[in-house]
Structure formats: structure tokens, C-alpha cells
């Protein structure tokens, strides 16, 4: 099996067949181990940030960490940062849902139908590696600068990892399962719903996990380029208003968000795919 995959900066393999995957817990998936050395390292670096900003680095763009934390609490609680953050999250999730939905549907179609697969795969292969930010300028011409454009960019970014993983998952469905469904004389629709989709779920989830991380990045980039609202735009505005503490507050919030999103989807995955991970042991 040729390992097919896309951008993933979270857990690996778009190759759920890796037996090791069930055995080796993902980074961050384990809690409560003695990681005090690591936490100390993080604290030491934050301390270095604080000290360097206070004593050595003289720049408006390098506020002490304590001021960033204060800005985060001031701006993030019911103030502007809170609202732009909500707007970004909504944009991201809308784009994600649309892109993922399309990706799953197209992936199933491509995975099942040889004609579609042969017809569309060259196009997919050509569009897939297209760096998404490169699409922002032409999409501004096509769709304007609103949420429609940014949502399309996000959906586009999400589409391909999900599509490719889904198609791969569909093709990797155990033939015996399909034959079983056939001998029980289940129709096409029932076979897809009861066999093909659940069996492809490990692959689909890999795609979703990859895409979620990507969706956040792309949302922020689109907002930085096209403005309007959102945390990416906020980040730029605060930078141009020379309020670097607020800007870093947004960065910190993004880090927390990225961490939380990954945690959530990994948790959901572990729950939904309990049968899959248990099997790997």
C-alpha cells in the first residue's frame, strides 16, 4: 500500500493500518505522567521571555509575558478579543464542516466508482498540493472579501485531506465485509451506510484530524490577508496599533485553541473508534 497522505502536523499516520498506532499513545494523549522536567523547561522559557523583555530586548514588539497574560484576561473576557475569537471559530467550523462533508461524500464516490476515480484523481492530485494561501488572491476576485471567501478557503483546505483519506479508507475496506453484506443481500445504500462508512472511519478520522489543524491555520491566514474580522485580523490590527501585548495575547489564545481542538478531536476519535484501537492491540 502506497502511503498516501497530506499535511498533518498532528498525529501521524494516514495509514491507520500501522499496528503501532494503537500501541503507541500520541504525544499529548497521555496525562498525569511525571513531566515536571518538561513543565519546568516551559516555565524557564517563559521566564526568559519575561526577563528578556524587561531587561535586554528593547522593542515595542516584545512585551513581557506578564503583560501578555494581563492583556489576555482583559481582552479575552467579554471584550473585543473574545468576539473576534468567536467569529474566527465560527468561520473555521463552518468551513470545516462544509469541506469535511464534501470531502467524505466525494471520497466515498471516488473510492467506490472507478470511472469517477480515474476521471477526478488527476485533478485532485494537481489541486491538492496547491498551497492554500496562494488561493486567497484569486478568490478575492471571485468571491469578494467576506466570510464566503474565507470560508471557501478553509473548506478547500479541509476538503483534500478528508477526500483522499476517505477514498483510501473506502478502497481499503475488507473485501470479506463487502461480500458478507452481499450474501445477506443488502443493497448499495445499506452497504455504504452500514459497512463502508464505518469501516472507513479510521481513515476518515485521520483526515479530519489533519484538516482541523489546517483549518485553524488557514482561517488565521485568510483573516490576516483579507481582514474583515476574526483573530487573524485582530492580530494584524493590534500590531499596527503598536499594542503588542494584545497581539501576543491573540497568539497565546491561538496556541491554546490549537491544543484544545486537537485534544477534542483525539478524544472523540478514541471514543468513536474504540473498536478500532482495541483491535490493534
Amino acid at each position: 500500500m502506497v502511503m498516501q497522505s497530506t499535511s498533518d502536523d498532528t498525529l501521524p499516520p494516514t495509514r491507520p493500518a500501522d499496528a503501532a498506532r494503537g500501541r503507541v499513545p500520541a504525544l499529548g494523549a497521555r496525562v498525569g505522567q511525571s513531566r515536571w522536567t518538561g513543565l519546568l523547561l516551559v516555565l524557564a522559557l517563559l521566564g526568559l521571555w519575561e526577563l528578556s523583555a524587561r531587561f535586554w530586548v528593547d522593542s515595542a514588539n516584545w512585551p513581557p509575558f506578564s503583560r501578555v497574560v494581563m492583556a489576555l484576561f482583559e481582552e479575552g473576557t467579554g471584550r473585543e478579543l473574545f468576539f473576534v475569537f468567536a467569529a474566527s471559530l465560527r468561520l473555521m467550523l463552518t468551513g470545516f464542516v462544509i469541506g469535511a462533508g464534501l470531502g467524505i461524500a466525494l471520497g466515498v464516490a471516488i473510492g467506490l466508482n472507478r470511472f469517477l476515480r480515474e476521471m477526478l484523481s488527476p485533478m485532485v492530485e494537481l489541486l491538492r498540493p496547491l498551497p492554500v494561501p496562494g488561493l486567497v488572491p484569486p478568490l478575492i476576485l471571485l468571491l469578494g472579501i467576506d466570510a464566503a471567501m474565507k470560508g471557501t478557503v478553509v473548506a478547500f483546505a479541509v476538503l483534500f485531506p478528508v477526500l483522499i483519506n476517505t477514498a483510501q479508507g473506502v478502497r481499503a475496506v475488507e473485501p470479506t465485509l463487502l461480500d458478507t453484506a452481499r450474501t445477506f443481500r443488502h443493497g448499495r445504500a445499506r452497504s455504504i451506510l452500514a459497512v463502508i462508512l464505518p469501516a472507513s472511519l479510521p481513515y476518515i478520522f485521520s483526515g479530519l484530524r489533519i484538516s482541523l489543524a489546517l483549518a485553524l491555520i488557514v482561517t488565521v491566514v485568510a483573516e490576516m490577508i483579507a481582514g474583515g474580522t476574526g483573530i487573524g485580523y485582530y492580530l494584524m490590527t493590534m500590531q499596527y496599533a503598536m499594542r503588542s501585548a494584545e497581539m501576543y495575547a491573540a497568539v497565546v489564545l491561538l496556541a491554546v485553541t490549537g491544543y484544545a481542538l486537537n485534544f477534542i478531536i483525539v478524544s472523540v476519535e478514541r471514543r468513536v473508534l474504540r473498536w478500532y484501537f482495541a483491535q490493534q492491540d
Binding site: T94, P137, R243
Partner: protein, 319 residues
Amino acid sequence: MRQFAKSAFIAAAAALTALPAAAQDLTTLRVSIIPIIDIAPLQIAMTKGFFEEEGIEIDTTPTAGGAVGLPALASGAVDVTFSNSVSIALGAAQGLGFKVIAAGSFTGKEAPDIAAIVAKPDAGIKTGADLDGKKLAVNTRNNVIWLYANAWVDATGGDSSSVTYLEVPFPQMLDAIDGGQVDAAFLVDPFLNAGVSGGAVEVAGYPYNTIQSEIPIGMYAVTEDFLADNPDVVDSFVTAYNKGVDWANDNAGSDEWNEIVSGYTRLPAERLAGLDIPPFHKVVDPEALQPTMDLMLKYGLLREEMEASSILADSVLAK
């Protein structure tokens, strides 16, 4: 094609695209803005209700820079865009039919100005000749800043073709000078004020003033089609906007003025207080704009000569 793609997405994301409820009788104009001091009259007119008096509601779409507003104007996503003269002229030259309907911001009459080329105090950079073979930071290449940086270097004894222009975002220019990555930078307020008052940099020259006094820089543009279809709306817009210009000039430096401007720029009030903002105007004199067009031709942004008056609508010309 565009319409189809757009409506398809809107259908899919109806929940997302928060369309304003069209309850009032006001005509809604979508205006692309950049949240900088230059658009103070517009924000004032909005805050003071001047637009509503003319039956217009303004829906602003802020963007981080000018690269986005004009394509959005061309594609019909917004009705009016605040942008700079060079970008508007470039679009017009490409057949996008941009027309300036209202004046925006101007450079100062004389030094000190709102924009300057700065360098480290001990760098010894005072003229364009000192920049030969050096690195100069501009926020964007092929825009108005870059154009006048070139013009200034050549006008003060240097050779602009020997200068390396590096794109650095305004907020990072002081860091770039401090770190030695560039020798000089074309800074604008409030970064200019912050850098000079902090002693980090000294002014080498004011490129705009050196070339010409009171250059029209920022302006509001629509498309020809929009102008032809909505002459009354445009007139109402300009009337209300010009009221904002008057108020802005009459009340410059007042607490209310500061409050409005700091409200949309997010600039802290103490930053605003130190700034010397040139007065706003209501008209753009074609002759004041023409040198910019000629410079664009000289520095290769235009392939052929362009009459400044060709992009100016009646509403922005002297009556």
C-alpha cells in the same frame, strides 16, 4: 461564474454570512476601509450620523492593507473602497474602471510630515546619495510608498536603481533598522512618531514634501458602472463624507476626535496626542495628482501616460 460560486457558497453557509436585516429605508453602502488615521472623516461622519442624514448606511469592511480592497471593489463585493492613488491608477490602467469620488488623505504642506525616510542616528544617511547600494525598507513594493522612495532617492542625488528595496511591515521597521537588516526605512505615523520620539531613529528626509507639497494619497473609489447606476447615492455619500471632513478639520485634537479615531484604529490615546495630522481636503486637483501618474510611468508601474483627470469623478473635482 463568480455569482454562481458565490451563491453556492452562501447557500451552503447561510448561517455564517450574517446579512444585515434590510429593515430600514437607508441605502446600504459597503465600504472597504483600512483602519488608519487617514479615514478619520469617514468614521466621524458615521459616528456623527452624517450619512444617515443623507439616507445612507455605511457597512465597513476593514482590511489589513490595500491589497484586498480594490479587487473586492472590482468584483462587486464592496461599493466603495478607500485606497491609495497608485493602486487605483494601476487598476484603472488594467481596465477595471475605477473612479475616485471623494478625497481622502493628503501629505503635509511642509516638513515635518506624516511620513519620512529614517535611519539610525549614527548612520550618516541624510540624502538619497547616502542610500546608494544600501537597503531601504518599504511596506510594499510597487505602491505609493515605494514610488516616492524612488523619487526621493533620485531627487536628492542618489541612484534609485542601486537601492535594494525590502518589504517590511511597518510595525517591524524599527526592529529591522535596530537589528541592522536594513539601513533605512520609509516610516509613516504613528510608527514614525514613536521611532523618532524614542530616539531610535532620525529622519533623513521627507520624501513627499521633497517632491511636492500636499500630495493626494488616500482616496475613495467606485467603479464606473456603480457611478453610472447610482449617481444620487454617490452624491449623498460625498455630501455626508465632506461634512465629516469639515468636522474633522474643525475639531482636530479635541477629545471627541481622539476618542473616535482611537476607537477604530485601536491606537492608544497617548500615541494619537503626539501626532500632527495634516488637514483633510474635499477636492483632488488633477494637477496635484498628475505628478504621481508621471512617476508611475517613470518607474515602470505604468506602460503609457495616464491623465490624472481620467480617474477623477466630478464629485471630487473643484467646483
